[in-house]
Symmetry: C2
Subunit: 164 residues, 2 copies
Amino acid sequence: MPPSPSSERLRNLGFLVRDVSRLYGRHFERHARELELTLPQCKVLAHLQRNEGISQARLAELTETDPMTLVRTLDRMQTDRWVERRPDPSDRRAHRLYLREEAKPVLARMWKIADQARSEAIAVLNEKECEQLLELLGRLHQNLQQLDTRATETRATEARRPAL
Amino acid sequence: MPPSPSSERLRNLGFLVRDVSRLYGRHFERHARELELTLPQCKVLAHLQRNEGISQARLAELTETDPMTLVRTLDRMQTDRWVERRPDPSDRRAHRLYLREEAKPVLARMWKIADQARSEAIAVLNEKECEQLLELLGRLHQNLQQLDTRATETRATEARRPAL
DNA sequence: CGTATATAATAACGCGTGTTATTATCTCCG
DNA sequence: CGGAGATAATAACACGCGTTATTATATACG
């Protein structure tokens, strides 16, 4: 049943991606310990830096985060005084998100740490290989995103027609 | 400060790997919903299939899981009657892990689902590109593993010399 | 022998993630 | 206008993951 010789290695792909992600996160958080920020929190700050005033829903899109996950992340970041929720004057359901002044000086250090951590991680790859890796992961990402969207929309459509 | 043109894209690497991992997991679990198994649980079953009777510590090594994480995963898998913990006759601290009979027929389906999910995910890559991706991720993984081990050992050494 | 150190498993806590359900509000259309 | 359906945010619950600390046992060494 296991066909070509590469098939057996291929079977590790899912686990491999997951492990790399986990180890990369650990590695980054070792460097970032002093910041008192997790990786998803950094992602939020990075996007907020260039998009202050957006809604949670929009930030969820930008960061590709589940809106519910984002609520909790923001809860903690608000408690830790990184960000602020202000009421949206034009939509009483929504909040607008802002960086607090305390967060701004940290952003530069954050990027520095991220650059440092990444360069250690990819030290085993040359420039061309990095480029390839980014390209391949990017294609995979785009495809998975599409599969996800498709599945989500299918389920939403079905939910709208419960009689079927 | 941002130097070469590829540098800006490079900065996404950490996020990109994480997103691919998350989306891959979602995709797999959509297919595996009928199995009532999560991806880490599948990993446990896959390793146990070829290594029945091992200890939790050994399984943690094989699956590259934090031992504490594994405890909880096994707790649930034991409740769900996938696996069994039996006392190790030669070491009263340890347990030996076994698949329950109920789990065995599921393994074949599990692999089938995994193959299906993966082939959908990598449909956008040709065979050579898959090979490259595996190779590059493998190198990255090995390096991150080494960085992790080194950091962990350093901390352990420091802990042993509290006076310093 | 007996003490120090290491190891196997677990407890307790915080965070990220996904799911389903709820509430308030908005929007669009008849 | 007014009701149907979409949307913004949140609540509650389960799982995975990492960290520190604890307990019981094993091992190694003086």
